[in-house]
Amino acid sequence: MIEALNLVKWFGPILAVNDVTFTVERGEVLGFLGPNGAGKSTTMRMITGFLPPSSGTVRIDGHDVVDDPIPARENVGYLPENAPGYPEMTVTGFLNFVAEVHGLGGQDKRDAVGRVVEMCHLRPVLHQPIDTLSKGYRHRTCFAQSILPDPPILVLDEPTDGLDPNQKREVRDLIREMGKEKAIILSTHILEEVDAVCSRVIIIDNGQLVCNGTPDELRKRAPGAGSVTVGIYDHKAGEIKDVFSGLKGVKRVDVLGEHNGAVQVKVYPVRQDGNPLELGPVLANVMKERGMVFGEFHTEKGRLEEVFYDVTRAEQEVASDTEKVSNNVG
């Protein structure tokens, strides 16, 4: 569906996107994460053919967006950042215009416009000029425009920006629903959104792709992922620590302190191929054998925020480490 191969974009001397490669298939909703200025919007603009890449190619359904733009664009619905619209036009005038540009006329046009008006709840503002709309309505009008021709591919740059919580939820439901048969790319700052709608996540930092996987896979990369917190009664902290530390698969045991008469410890697992080992059964077994009574037991799934922080910060640290090493060598 969408193939982005080795995308590079220079703005003068600034490298905005550096060798980004990924594909999105039908039935996938790809979440595009990254700090501000990481190159998300630039990448999306290259996918929609608005910006030509400095090198690399984008293919939509096999059509190169630079060499064969029209068939490629026919298949893509695009919601640009900040949801632009022609200020003096009414909502219905704007949607009719978009339908006509996509070659719809007569009943087809009326059906298509009617459908998105219902989906995006635009009926109350149909005859209002776009520049008099509230931010939420303006955003939904532009969103409606992107799904109007019912394209198999959607590129949505911050689709829930400026919406209130209820509207956010509706748009997410809509995206999830459409994601069943379309290929969708959306960028966002909101990590819960990724959990709510995305089947796959890409994190991009400083123009480079630093992560690509399902939300669950990414979560496992969080530093705290797979760690188990237990609160154990009637045992000394040192004893507990010794018992757990000796177990296979345990990397480290931290004593967190006492709470309601129970010693709380946090047990970190060893990682294999970057994935944390499952500690729950091991710990449960050993506590059963030794007759340890516990009041609390939970395994951390890892939070996307942590991963996000980790990969977008670590980059810089790694960079400075390499520098040190090369300095030493030198």
Binding site: R45, T48, I70, P80, P84, Y86, E88, F97, G103
Partner: protein, 247 residues
């Protein structure tokens, strides 16, 4: 081909409707009519010439257009850039060339409408005397083509910047060059140059072509002149829109 025409028509229709949904259209038409009336009747003293001809009327058009056409053309692309709609427009299944031609045509048709609304002038001279209506028709054609030439230059400057004031001023200067290129003070600036350079600079001027049409002469070379100015400026617009998409 049919598809291309339909795209151009769709965009042009939206664009033209846009003029009438904002005050731009009405303000422009009223000012154009009032000013062309003022210059014809008060400055050129239309009745005192005692001739059944629209020559004094058309004489002022090239000067009126100097300011009024860039005022229409300045928003063509800078407005799209400023409001971000350029991103929508250029990712729709149309080519940039179609969008450029459509936007230009819409603005040109609009200028044509303003021009048509001067028809009471034609009625007046026909009522008062016996004018050569062929010459008047050629005069209208010349006026319309000059507006088109100015407009294509305004489209070019509009594509260069998102700032409409910059776009307007640059367009006025370019149009002024077109108007004054054959004028001795301008050609004198390049007297150091070989004769053919002076000739080329003077040849850019719209004035001889405009005057020919005002005399009622519709010659191929004048039409070719207008077509090449517009063709060149729109082509350059295309190059700029293409290379400055992200800016």
């Amino acid at each position: 081909m049919e598809r291309r025409c339909r795209n151009v028509w769709t965009i042009a229709k939206r664009e033209l409707a846009g003029y009438f949904m904002s005050p731009v259209a009405y303000v422009f038409i009223i000012i154009f009519l009032v000013l062309s009336g003022f210059f014809t009747f008060m400055v050129s003293d239309f009745f005192a010439t005692n001739e059944a001809s629209l020559a004094p009327f058309f004489f002022w058009h090239q000067w009126l257009y100097l300011f009024l056409v860039p005022a229409i053309g300045m928003r063509l692309w800078s407005e799209e850039r400023r409001s971000g709609t350029i991103e929508l427009l250029l990712t729709m299944p149309i080519t940039a060339g179609q969008a450029i031609i459509a936007k230009f045509l819409a603005a040109w048709v609009f200028l044509g409408l303003a021009l048509i609304l001067t028809f009471p002038m034609v009625i007046t001279v026909n009522f008062l005397g016996n004018p050569d209506n062929g010459v008047i028709a050629a005069g209208y054609l010349g006026s319309f083509l000059t507006a088109g030439a100015y407009l294509s230059l305004s489209s070019l400057t509009s594509a260069m910047t998102r700032n409409q004031v910059v776009s307007f001023i640059t367009a006025v200067v370019l149009c002024m060059f077109l108007l004054l290129a054959g004028w001795p003070p301008v050609t004198n600036m390049v007297t150091w140059a070989p004769y053919w350079v002076i000739d080329t600079v003077a040849g850019v001027s719209v004035v001889p072509h405009y005057d020919a049409l005002q005399r009622g002469v519709i010659a191929i070379r004048d039409l070719v002149y207008f077509a090449s100015v517009m063709g060149f400026a729109l082509f350059a617009t295309g190059v700029i829109v293409h290379s400055r998409r992200g800016a």
